[in-house]
């Protein structure tokens, strides 16, 4: 990943928000990961933002019910029977 800021500077908040998704997936290189963590330790706003992204991901996983409705089930069973015939 190309970084628009120098290695010594602190990562600005406006760039932190672009790293949240990869950070939460554990996808950042060790050095960048450490600098992210350091920023988060001193920045409540970015911490709140990362927490929002993390909760968004958790909500996505919980947003669906994995059961079939009765008409769905009937329709599928009928088409399976047809496919086997």
């Amino acid at each position: 990943m190309k970084l628009p800021w120098s290695r010594r500077e602190e990562i600005p908040c406006i760039e932190m928000v672009e790293l949240a998704s990869s950070y939460l997936d554990g996808g950042l290189a060790a050095d960048l990961r450490r600098r992210c963590r350091e920023h988060l330790e001193g920045c409540d706003a970015c911490l709140a933002f990362f927490d929002q992204v993390s909760k968004t991901i958790a909500l996505l996983r919980r947003s669906v019910t994995r059961t079939l409705t009765v008409p769905e089930r009937q329709r599928l069973l009928a088409s399976f029977k047809q496919a086997r015939a």
Binding site: P12, C13, I14, E15, V17, E18, A20, S21, S22, D25, G27, D44, A45, C46, A48, F49, D51, Q52, V53, S54, K55, T56, I57, A58, L59, L60, R61, R62, S63, V64, T65, R66, T67, L68, E72, R73, R75, L76, L77, S79, F80, Q82, A83, R84
Partner: protein, 190 residues
């Protein structure tokens, strides 16, 4: 039917990325299951049954989407990394360039006090999340559906959609950012 129970709703959501109506999406999923049953003898176990199933779906849905003359996502041809940037957060929420403290938050996000488990108890919140997913550009919707709703790994998604690791990461980041922004907006109205 256990397999159907497990994957049907995920297949349906993904199918909606390619076709216009719920009815067409249901047709695509039905065709996918039938395709699976017909082809089960050819399944060699080199990939997981799950990724094979979704590959059948993507192929069926793309063919159908083309027939319905709707623009379909050519994930494999499109490289988001070369696309102009899309911001995770509206840049006007940060101190502009050239000013002191440039890039710091001007309008920081609120803390969401409730845990994700508590938030998920609200069916209204859950449907807001799915609504936000429905409104994503098709390629973003494909990736976030498989990764975050269905729980696939990055490499499973790259294989199924024939996209690079970088594209997968960028698309997922943009999709999550849009869904977060939609949730933030919804929660502010509450």
């Amino acid at each position: 039917m256990a397999l159907v129970e497990m994957y049907h709703s995920g297949l349906l959501r993904l199918a909606r990325s390619y076709v216009n109506t719920q009815q067409l999406a249901e047709d695509v999923v039905q065709e996918t299951w039938v395709g699976l049953i017909r082809g089960i003898d050819r399944f060699e176990g080199r990939s997981s049954l799950k990724s094979w199933l979704f590959t059948i779906l993507v192929n069926t849905a793309r063919t159908r989407g083309k027939r319905e003359a709707r623009s379909i996502p050519f994930s494999s041809l499109w490289d988001p990394a070369s696309e102009p940037g899309e911001y995770a957060v509206d840049p006007s929420r940060f101190v502009p360039r050239g000013q002191k403290a440039a890039g710091q938050w001007l309008r920081p996000p609120e803390r969401w006090e409730a845990s994700a488990e508590e938030m998920a108890l609200s069916s209204e919140t859950r449907s807001q999340v799915l609504l936000a997913v429905d409104e994503l550009p098709p390629t973003q919707r494909e990736v976030i559906t498989l990764r975050d709703i269905e729980g696939w790994t990055a490499s499973e998604v790259c294989n199924a959609l024939a996209i690079s690791e970088t594209n997968q990461r960028v698309l997922l980041h943009r999709a999550r950012s849009r869904v977060r922004a939609a949730l933030e907006k919804y929660l502010e109205r509450q």
